[in-house]
Symmetry: C2
Amino acid sequence: MLRGLPEDWTHAHEGGETWSPFDVLGHLIHGEQTDWMPRVRRILETGDSRPFDPFDRFAQLTASVGKKTPELLDELARLRAANLRDLVALGLAPGDLARKGRHPALGVVTLGQLLATWVAHDLDHIAQIARVLAAQYSDAVGPWRAYLRVISGQPG
Amino acid sequence: MLRGLPEDWTHAHEGGETWSPFDVLGHLIHGEQTDWMPRVRRILETGDSRPFDPFDRFAQLTASVGKKTPELLDELARLRAANLRDLVALGLAPGDLARKGRHPALGVVTLGQLLATWVAHDLDHIAQIARVLAAQYSDAVGPWRAYLRVISGQPG
């Protein structure tokens, strides 16, 4: 979706403190580094007795400085592949999905919920990236704007 | 996004008459066959004197019957690649983007608006597919639901 796009498009956002696709990539990278697999391991090691470390939603604002979108795409792909290899290597059984952990704000959660959220979180940010990219075409599409829910915010 | 997913996931929708990712693929295929390039050609051939043929938003409900998601993905990729080759072969110049056509409902539009809409329309349906897929995980993510805008509908 982002490979080959001009940097000014991948850096455009919805105004104010909202994130660009470039910011989202940095956020996903930080999640691969500090969130998903470290939390899987925390559950397996200490159950719900020790909460997950809080996730820094703004780490990418400094970590991505000076990088280009293709670098972030490569880094995300590499980290995700390594994390999925590590996940498979854990050899989890269906029964493990009910194992409990503790989220610092949400309280008790299960390993299954964590893994489902890893997937849904990707989808959340894919929808966001589509919306932010489309917003740059709000004027370019002219009267078709009315038919494009991703731009109008209304059901098409 | 959809390659390799189980058919029951790509056929799931948001209830009622809403579309599944499978339905969206059929809609995108029908657009490649009857909408984008035929409208480009209509503008180049007759300007705004003859309106575009209306687009059938429900054609895929019959055209996709009996097909599987991977077939639709292959068909869409093939049609899109052929259409992009045809578009390049037209050798359009920047000045051509202002050429006018007539949409049956929206009235006068430009070739540039049509091409921008081809892109934004993809993004609209990518956001939709992400949302519809994520909706199948509404329960599976447990309390994380509150943080997932794509599921909650609220800014995360």
